[in-house]
Amino acid sequence: MKPTYGGVSRYGIVALASSLDQAGPCARDVMDTALLHAVIGGHDPRDSTSINKPVPDVVAAALNADVRGMKIGVIKQLKGEGFQAGVLERFNQSIEILIELGAEVIEVSCPHFEYALGAYYLILPSEASSNLARFDGMRFGIREDDGKNRSVEEVMSATREKGFGAEVKRRIMLGTYALSSGYYDAYYGQAQRIRTLITRDFADAFSHVDVLVSPTAPTTAFKIGEKLDDPLAMYLNDIATIPVNLAGNCAMSLPIGRAPEDGLPVGLQIIAPPMADHLLYQVGSALESALADRWGGLLISEAPTL
């Protein structure tokens, strides 16, 4: 579950990208997630970006597993090329269930989503390059100092070289470059404009439907480390979830079965407008109980024991 940006305090969480970071609950079923959400959500005076409004009643929404008369939009841009067949099969099946449960499903277009990945991978590294600057070995954490009367710059540099992994360094370098004078407008500035357009796409869509749905990811999980040498392929896996992060609204990913070709789990993403987190729990718990009826239990019961 990714609550609305500002719905849960970020105070105490190590920041990666401040304008995108949002803590959210993760649990075995929709109700547990709602209970956790109700506890961690709400305004925090120590986080200026946290929203000073009551948390939507997510627990009541999870109890109200009813989608009759609800309008659900399928995002046209998040179900075509690049999406694994088994993922789409499970997704379409869930759409049919939602229709059977009484929801009205229509297709909506979000034309600027195709630029989301590019914008995200400029904004995230830019903010990360600044947020991670404090990890320099001066005040806390590891410190690489061989005692040979090194300068501050040498100790900072050696500490950061040792402490950060390859992917983090890649993002710090990308972000440092994107914020450099002379490039700022072309990269960071442009990315922020795209962010605005994506937020507008969502606003347009939500003027027609209550919630939006899409597969959570275009493919099932790849192996750990498999795509490290091909970061672009790895980043593409986030294509469906990134627009939500950029716009700051809320979304939930729900397990909807396994892809026939590899037997790995598939997720369905439900997206709602900012501060309408309760709608996600309402739709999520309706779909969850319909699927559990078919399977004779929750999908997580099929997870291999470790």
């Binding site: 105490g12 304008s19 970006t49 390059s129 600044s130 320099d136 501050v152 440092t176 004078s181």
Partner: protein
Amino acid sequence: MTTEYQAVIAEFEPIIGLETHIELGTNSKMFCSCSAQFGGDPNTHVCPVCLGLPGSMPVVNRVAVESTIRMGLALNCSIAPWCRFARKNYFYPDMPKNYQISQYDEPLCSDGYLDVTVPTENGPGVFRVEIERVHMEEDTGKLLHAGGSGRIHGATHSLVDYNRAGIPLIEVVTKPILGTGELAPEIAKAYVSELRDLMRALGVSDVRMEEGSLRCDVNVSLNRQGEGWGTRTETKNVNSLRSVERAVRTEMVRQAEQLRLGERIILETRHFNEETGDTTSGRSKEEAEDYRYFPEPDLVPVAPSESWIKQLRGTLPEIPSVRRARLQNDWGISEFDMQSLVNAGALELIIASIDAGVQPSAARKWWTGELTRVANERDCELEELTVTPADIAQIEGLISEGVLTDKMARSVFEGLLDGEGNVAEVIDSRGLVVVNDDDLLVEAINQALSESPDIAEKIKSGKVAAAGAIVGAVMKSTKGQADAAKVRTLLLEQLGVKE
């Protein structure tokens, strides 16, 4: 004015610009609730936020925003209806997060002006300094270089005190100041002085210059008449009014020398040496450091409502120039006299002395006379002297009670200025007590009369003016510790003569 400086002015036009950082006098820091008090044991005014610990987040100090808006209004600026903080990124150990939260292209206040008064050939003249922007930012920590000479060069290690990290700063930036001619150094000084007085009048900072709470970066360039603007240099961290004036002057002379030799001026930062008054080359700015500014994502925009701004406008006090005009009138002094006591840095001290109970004329007499002379002799600011307005009130009180004579009062000042302690201690250690015992005085008078019987006769015969000689003799025999007026009264009484 030196002939050297006159030669510079004959050949070149100066353009100056001033960036002034002033610490605001808020109770707490800019983005956390730590104390913003000066001093304290190192690293005692700190918390996760101002130490930049992972997971901590800034929250804007409302009073700091309020102070900045009031300053902007007093400087005739427009106040942005919506603006953001920005991160200024660079690695340096005095900066806990390795970025400073500042404002970049969206300052809270912009496009104002400040009128300053400077002495000209035709008496005091008003010069308008245009203000580019006023914005808020946080201060950095303080590095102490240990081992070696205490300077960064040759130090074996450095210590950091983060007490100052996160103290709210206001930065006031002027537009390029054109058309100053030979008055450039005086205008620079008058501007900073006026800015300081304005901050104090607004109550947003008490501007303790000796604690480094006002720091000025001085930009100077020269061009020959009719040519385009010259390359500027930026002399950093000039910390007193006198230094601002000197930094402009010495940098003008230095640049003129370079230009006359056909050398180009390098765009660079320079350091000001308080002792010699010289500037020395610092970091070249030709390859400008890239601070990778971007909007601070941990803070929401500052959007002061019109009603709030209006309310703050209502809290603006009498501005210093208006106040000066009023005081000049109250005290019945000329504009010239007013201007010279302002230039001597005496105005606030005189006002403080009056507030402490001293008569206005006496307060002016002490600060613009004896004390200004000592300050000039010692090459320091009046407020750096070890005499306070409270001391003057105390001494004046003792004079009117007849405990001290004028002459003895001067001796007390000497003692205070030489650091001999407070007023009571100086009086005690210097044995300054008026001989007030009538019997002792009468005895001294009779002694003097017996030594000069001819004068005694003269007085008796009605030539009262002759009494002065006897009074002088008594003052001499009591080592000046008698009240001359009282001696005279007793003398006439003794001889049965009436005035």
